[in-house]
Symmetry: C2
Subunit: 276 residues, 2 copies
């Protein structure tokens, strides 16, 4: 069979470093770039960020919300970004945080992971509020070469009380997610392609992070306060090529000038590579 | 100020009954309707379902996943459905279950609740995995007349262990959501427009359901197994006009024939009205 997402991601990280460039065309960032808060502004930002990421980032991560706010016109821009990234050989992780009951998740998984879908990406982020078991339609796509990142511990403070709540088996929700994903990866169903989102701003969970058998997607670095050094310590025993660190605002604040943006990407890549 | 979503919903339920018709153009349902699994099939299904709901249902609830699987073309159909429903005076609840950290939620809230957005609906469903506090951009739109339904207990079994997990204050996650939403409604910020999704297939939570000061959106009736009688018992002490019951498959399985579909809507409305 073809390479799995887990394998492809690991190769990219080894070759290019552990940086994932977030593509977050928010109103605030477009204003900083002196671009209109419109689909045209979003398109300019998205394609410029992709260009800056080429050859220096293992993946890009468009935040779907910033495209969705322009409805179908915003999604047309996202489709173009996905297509151009694919042509350029850049991995695309849709930060969609989708999650519903099983039968509905099959439709979401089809939207974000099927090759025939106009939004088909290499991987997607999903939310386990309806239960990790309900996410199986996403996991099923891992056999077809796609990847999934399940939210375990998000980078924001408000998430703690829920994500640290304890189940009947006295396991914290974040550890339940980590353990469930690790188990599916171990059974080989995940093929090392099921990952977890773990905020760099959060404390170390009880789960042994080195035993996930899959990749981590790590937000919270840069504008949200965590440092590359901190990330290095948090994941110090994880296998090489399994930790992908997202940086969005700390890159985009370099502004639209091509070489400045490119330099920001490389600086973050080099900085992260020192510790991971 | 203009009427709030909570007030408008209550009026609709009093006038038309407690039925919300789900608009779920899944591949399986389109096959049952002998329609292609395409944007054209989705559009036919969505508009026929809207027509059948007119005058007999308090609201419609498009399941966004079934539109999203066709990317921007699917969203164009969803935009048309929203526009036609608005013109016909039908409340539209986008079943999107969006949820992210706060700054991103502002973009999602703009997408689904702002009047200028092509996807702007009367209300949207949201997921509290990142914390109820992170949902404040959605809640802020309640002051502008929009509604929000936060997932508390979903209709599927896999959701139980997480939704029943206990926080440091020894409160179950579902009760935490219910209590937090009730508190915001009580502080008048929610204006009775912040609701909760509570599956009819689930046991009664510890929270006193009559004290939410806002509406319930109730899935799980019909194809998923719960009966109108059961819903009536679960919400027996809630104020009139605050319980909205969604039925999707049990309506759509009547097929595309106009009078059959219309009859199915009325039958469910009448059946639910007996117990609510």
């Amino acid at each position: 069979m073809d390479e799995t997402f887990g394998q492809r991601l690991q190769e990219r990280i080894r070759a290019l470093g552990p940086l994932c460039v977030g593509v977050d065309p928010s109103a605030a960032t477009l204003a900083l770039w002196h671009r209109p808060d419109s689909v045209e502004g979003v398109e300019f930002f998205a394609l410029a960020t992709l260009e800056a990421a080429l050859g220096s980032a293992a993946a890009i991560k468009p935040q779907v919300a910033y495209f969705e706010r322009f409805g179908s016109a915003g999604y047309r821009v996202l489709e173009r970004l996905i297509l151009e990234a694919r042509d350029a050989g850049v991995l695309v992780i849709a930060d969609a945080k989708r999650g519903d009951i099983g039968v509905t998740n099959d439709a979401y998984a089809s939207a974000w992971l099927d090759a025939a879908s106009p939004l088909g990406c290499d991987a997607v982020t999903v939310s386990p509020f309806t239960g990790v078991g309900a996410l199986s339609p996403f996991f099923a796509r891992a056999r077809g070469g796609r990847g999934v990142f399940v939210l375990a511990a998000t980078s924001n403070d408000e998430g703690r009380s829920l994500q640290r709540a304890r189940t009947d088996d006295d396991v914290a929700v974040e550890d339940l997610v980590l353990g469930s994903v690790a188990e599916i990866n171990r059974r080989d169903e995940g093929l090392g392609s099921l990952g977890v989102v773990l905020g760099a701003t959060r404390d170390r969970p009880r789960f042994d992070l080195a035993s996930l058998h899959g990749p981590y997607l790590v937000p919270g670095v840069g504008a949200q306060g965590a440092t590359p050094e901190h990330v290095g310590r948090l994941f110090e025993r994880c296998p090489e090529g399994t930790v992908l660190v997202n940086v969005s605002r700390a890159v985009s604040e370099a502004g639209p000038e091509r070489s400045a943006l490119r330099d920001a990407v490389r600086r973050w890549r080099d900085n992260l590579s020192t510790f991971l």
